[in-house]
């Protein structure tokens, strides 16, 4: 009968009108993101400020968007003097984390880093050879897993 669909629609919305709302009341209640979420890049470091990075440059070379800039120590090539992340360019693809042979890179689930200044989007994970506050502190210095199984050559 004509009008049945119209009444059905009203009953659907009428039921919903009296039902529960489905909103994350964002600033008042914050969502806890699952641990796999890729938000901001971070590095694992020991409590004494030693980052796990050994400056192998895999992440820098594998990055599609030139987000990562590593400066190696000219005397000890296995030590990074600085490790800077330009998160303004980052597409959060996770290739760097996946490729890191020492599993030094990791993603944090902290998503509130809005800023008014583009310059502040670049942050350092290692500055002057020591891990900065943006790093995640871990107890173990050895990588959790042995170096990535799929070997192969590097670019360039």
């Amino acid at each position: 009968m004509f009008g049945q669909g119209l009444l059905k629609g009203l009953s659907v919305t009428g039921r919903r009108m009296l039902g529960k709302t489905e909103c994350d009341m964002y600033p008042y209640r914050k969502r806890v993101l699952p641990p796999k979420s890729r938000i901001f890049l971070s590095m694992r470091a020991t409590p004494d400020g030693k980052a796990l990075c050994n400056a192998c440059l895999t992440c820098q070379q594998g990055c599609p968007d030139n987000v990562i800039r590593i400066e190696q120590d000219p005397e000890d090539r296995k030590r990074a003097v600085s490790f800077r992340v330009n998160s303004g360019r980052c597409t959060f693809c996770g290739i760097c984390e996946e490729n890191c042979p020492r599993h030094a890179l990791t993603f944090t689930q902290d998503f509130e880093r809005a800023t008014f200044d583009k310059g502040t989007l670049t942050y350092a994970l290692i500055a002057d050879g020591t891990a900065t506050g943006a790093c995640v502190i871990v107890e173990r210095t050895e990588p959790e897993h042995p170096a990535s199984a799929e070997g192969g050559e590097d670019v360039g």
């Binding site: 049945q4 119209l6 979420s37 594998g62 599609p64 693809c93 990535s148 199984a149 799929e150």
Partner: protein, 379 residues
């Protein structure tokens, strides 16, 4: 001229007025992105239409020539950001065929599951925007609730809601937590179906909606073939072409499902095909979760892949139709030519034929039924 137009009655012959050219878009609330349509109008009747695209052209085909094959996966996500897993899978299939990489059994099941889930989310997005185009805010907000729930699963298992970068040559990035799959199974089996029933109650049976869609912009199979229209739009005119059946890939040939078709070919048929596809896809994803075998999810592939020289063209049933990847390799780590045959590009090119003679408000009903994504059209 207006007199020649079949939809304009002969009585109007004497009352010819000056036609106006209306630039619809690129900034218009219901152009689904930055689509631009030049319309020649007589009153509210469209005499001629000319789509103008390219506002979102990012040169992905050129960029891909300067990236390694693995890095291109990031770009592929951004082609059709509504059906990411379908794009990734099509690209992976192209490279796997070119480099002759085997995919483990479990990875095929996982890929099929993700592709069908993303088909559900993509069609939910389409459903919402059809409602929006026809002047109601409620469908879009209702559609986003199940969509968000599936996205939560994507985020928990792949790390990203929209741009997963999850598929790898020879498998997937990592295995899925069984607890997540169980929760998803419970959701798909009951709540999603309830939500779809609710959409049917809200929109599908609604007389206003039916009066706007029935008989609108009919298309025959021959026309669809001639214009290169594929996917649900083609199946709505009675064709049974579905690449998931025609060129079986993944585990589609082992699942119990059927391709949804309709014979009317009008806007309502396109609508009903997509609505039924959502249920079929949910069914398939459920079967995948239930029957997925254990095992490896990734074969070992060199981190910097160098496929042998040659070229490959792979056709894939994306949510919008036939997605083609034409990759030419010269043996280096970067593709020599990276070509995307985008389904929405071809579907939208049929728009001038479909909307000639329609009213402005009909135009949006037609346009919504095409379900385009500008990022994929402009690349």
């Amino acid at each position: 001229m207006i007199e020649d137009h079949p939809r304009v009655g002969r009585l109007q012959k004497d009352a010819v007025t000056e036609s106006i050219v209306l630039n619809m878009g690129p900034q218009h609330p219901s152009m689904h992105g930055v689509f631009h349509m030049q319309l020649e109008l007589s009153g509210e009747t469209i005499l001629a239409a000319r789509p103008v695209i390219g506002y979102l052209h990012r040169g992905i085909e050129k960029l891909a020539e300067h990236r390694t094959y693995a890095q291109c996966m990031v770009l592929v996500d951004r082609l059709d950001y509504i059906s990411q897993y379908c794009n990734e899978w099509a690209y992976c299939r192209a490279i796997e065929r070119l480099a002759r990489i085997e995919v483990p059994e479990r990875a095929e099941w996982l890929r099929t599951m993700y592709a069908e889930l993303v088909r559900v989310t993509s069609h939910l997005m389409w459903f919402g925007s059809v409602g929006l185009d026809l002047g109601g805010w409620t469908p879009v907000i209702y559609a986003f609730i199940p969509r968000e729930r599936i996205f939560d699963f994507f985020e928990a298992t792949t790390g990203s809601r929209l741009m997963p970068n999850y598929l790898r040559f020879g498998g997937v990035k990592e295995d899925v937590d069984p607890a997540e799959m169980e929760a998803l199974h419970a959701y798909l089996a009951k709540d999603l179906i309830d939500a779809l029933d609710e959409f049917d109650g809200l929109v599908t049976g609604n007389e206003i909606f039916l009066s706007r869609q029935r008989g609108l912009a009919p298309m025959t199979v021959d026309q669809a073939h001639a214009w290169g229209v594929t996917g649900p739009m083609l199946r709505a005119c009675g064709s049974t072409r579905d690449l998931r059946i025609d060129t079986p890939y993944g585990v589609y040939d082992r699942l119990d499902w059927e391709s949804c078709t309709d014979t009317r070919g009008d806007a309502l048929a396109r609508y009903s095909v997509r609505m039924r596809e959502m249920r079929e896809s949910a069914k398939m994803a459920l079967q995948c979760i239930e029957r997925m075998p254990a095992g490896e999810v990734r074969t070992k592939v060199a981190r910097v892949l160098r496929p042998p020289e040659g070229e490959v063209y792979v056709r894939h049933e994306s949510t919008r139709g036939e997605l083609g990847f034409h990759i030419v390799s010269d043996g280096s780590p970067k593709p020599y030519r990276f070509r995307v045959r985008s389904p929405a590009f071809m579907n939208v090119s049929s728009l001038p034929h479909l909307c000639a003679g329609a009213k402005i408000s009909e135009f949006f009903a037609i346009f919504g039924g095409i379900d385009n994504v500008m990022a994929e059209i402009d690349r």
